[in-house]
Amino acid sequence: MMPGGRLRALVILLAICLACGFVIARTRFVSDLSAFMPRSPTERQRLLLEQFRDGVIARLVMIGIEGGDAPERARLSRELAAKLRSDRQQFVGVQNGDAATAQRDRDYFLQNRYLLAPDIAPEHFTAEGLHAALLESLDRLSGDAGFLFKNIFPRDPTGETVKVLERFEGRSQPRSVEGVWASPDGKLALLLVQTRAAGSDIEAQSRVVSHIHQVFEAIEHRKTDTRLLMSGTGVLSVASRSAIEGEIARLAMASLALVTCLLLAVYRSPVLFLLGMVPVVLGALVGIAAVSLGFGQVHSLTLGFGTTLIGEAVDYSIYFFIQCFGGPRSDRFWRTIALGVATSIAGYSVLLFSGFPSLAQLGLYSISGLVAAALASRYLLPALMPGRTRLRDLRRPGAVLERLFNQAGRMRWGALAVVLAACAIIVAHSGRIWNRQLNALSPVAHQDQRTDERLRSGLGVSDMRYVAAFAAHDEPSALEQAERAGAVLQNLVDRSVIGGYTSPAFVLPSLAQQRSRQSALPDPAAARSRLNQAIVGLPIRVDRLSGFLSDLQAARTRAPLTRADLDGTSAEMLVDSLLVKRDHDFLVLLPLRTAGAGPPADRIDVDEVGRALGQARLGEVRVVDILEETTSLFDSYLREALMLVAIGCVVIGGLLLASLRSPLRTLRVAAPLACSVACVTATLLLCGVQLTILHLVGLLLAVAIGSNYALFFDMDRAVEDRGQVQVSLVVANLTAVSSFGLLGFSRVPVLSAIGTTVGLGTFLALVFSAMLTRSRPYPDGAGPT
């Protein structure tokens, strides 16, 4: 090679590296969970996802205290809650079910009952209305729960406090052990914290997590066997970021080390090894830069997939070094490489259209990286190669492989039997092949997911399945609309269409509602005379009810309730989570409960509720079945992915057909890939794995990489030194299997799903290619030398 050519190649290489480095230096790297949230969902789904991402739900930190004994956990819960409550800068609310908060709640409901109770209307305070209410209270006093109410009877003889409390009946509450919230099994003390910082603000959430840990560690006389568990959107984002970042560094190093050892062992030449890494490094740099330019940011998981590119980009140099040392027959060689790259691009390009930003990034990254690596191998490597470099003689291993492959070829009928069995397994699993849960795509480690479920179910946070939602332009109108919707919903409760609902207006009525209730209260003289009429015939001593009359008068003239009155009560978090301030408006959420009776006891007819609300002309109220929406969300993206993969397969098939110009040859190349896909799928299913979109993507990658093997086996019919070709294929396969296999060991479920699928898939693609695509063995089992 001319020194001039080499210089030019070096300059080009450096220029590309510099350009990419410039772009990468200005790139924003993100690690939040939003990349796993689909991009263009329906209106209802967007509402849902927004809440998951930025809503109050995302601001909740669920805390569990483990270890020690129940009294110790309760003590720690109280101390931790007290310390966090005093930090109003970071925390909006802290709840642990303690008696003090329960007392504040009761006080709030008792003191504000005439502004909060549902029946407050003028007719309720006529002599007849009072009489009926007093009768009802007497019944309540003689009932089994009577002793709970008798203390407040003199002040609240018409039972308004009870009516306020009754609206919350049926809401599940965490169980209580030693006076604080605990998990159902009693082994965890539970707290619920609402942070001021948004759930998507990972930096702030990271500070919150470490702050809570510090506060907990610093509690005096804490027994050392006690431990803090935390979860929530923010906490999981923080955890998965650190997990992903740690994994990426670890995996990249391990993968690089493995490939280095492998290539040095084969090449026995540091120069060749370094040259071989040129397409890899260039591919990775170009890939990251392309994603940065295309998406404006790079998700750190995309970097995680970068390790996989090592496995594929290094292949081109392997093929080049091993196969092209023989002589000048490179035209045919490069045509095969080009076809391999084209099939890979066809496979990856469908990812670009995926609704999941993370997959679209992966697609762009892989395409640009592969093209760069292939071009570097084609045009830079030959120029950079020192003239004297010689690859060691690979004829011996070539001969060994030849025998091995010949034996494999004889087992092709056995292989077909295995494939048939695999197909049978897939058919037997039909209907439960796919994991339909949205969190199947979550990058959160399984252990963290389990902790999350444990805390979530203990706190009852996940119980919100049905919700009616609407937007209002300001807080007063939001509350007024919530009250109007509430009237419709109450009607549905009476008809047992729903079992109940929760509204922020239960604890914070609109100003108009409060005013109207105040105006329904009688003046002092009227109140006294009507009460005197009302108690006729009842065993009630009117002189004991002076507290009632004075409370009534105080309520008539008092200042209305505002959000600030809720401070320190559990109603505070209720209002914040159901009345959500957004950038330009307020979002109101009204959780619905099932009737628990009638044929579908655990279901709500969302359409019927929607119709009822629609008829009341309440503007646009959406009624969402969250479980149904998340499932259908996943289904629609699964359908999309299946469609894209099908298109990808058709394009790959078309490409092969067009360039091989023979249906039979195309079939010979495609068959091992199909067999490999069938066997990988069956293996995963046998291992109890339910497939996700990521497995599907993994299969696509396996096809893209495996197509190279099949193509080379197809080509080797016309080549004399097929020993070299086979050595190069095995080395390339080893690098792919080892780098993807490493990914399979990742603790990040997303990475491990792709890793195991592609690792196994590429290996099987090589084996099946050797069996099905490779030409029939020579009579004696030894190839020509």
């Binding site: 003689s142 009932g143 089994d144 008798k150 009946e169 209580s176 052990v177 065993p539």
Partner: protein
Amino acid sequence: MADDLQLPDLMRTLSHNQQQEATFVEKRYLSVLDKPLESSGELYFIPPNRLEKRTLKPKPETLIVDGDVLIVDQSNRHRFTVSLQERPDISAFVESIRGTLAGDQSALEKFYSIELSGSADRWRLSLVPLRQEMMRIISRIQIAGSQADLTTIEFDFADGDRSEMLVAKARSR
């Protein structure tokens, strides 16, 4: 005095109780009211830990205690469930009656200091709450009976209010 009944003996007698059915009449004397509130209904006890109180008048209402769970069903309105473990106050009420019916001395001693007087044919248990928070609600519970049958249950509330329940055995199986 040979006639003096010892607590363990009474408890043993009670613990042999089979399933029981009885009727009750309860009167509540509340200071805010001129007249006592009267209610009546049926009691069922299925050893060792299921107790049902079915009020028929003035408003039908059912209270069932089974193990750790208390269910109140106000037929036309509400139904709520309470875990006794989570509500020591309610638990104390329940155990005074259930513990006595079952002859479960340790259940009673968990919440009360116990005094026994009278003879096997005419005994009277006086239960005084041990815990401060319970004392604030109730000052004393008195249960009277004859042999293995309860005849009256009286609650003296801390604020001076009182409730008195007369029990008449229906039949035992």
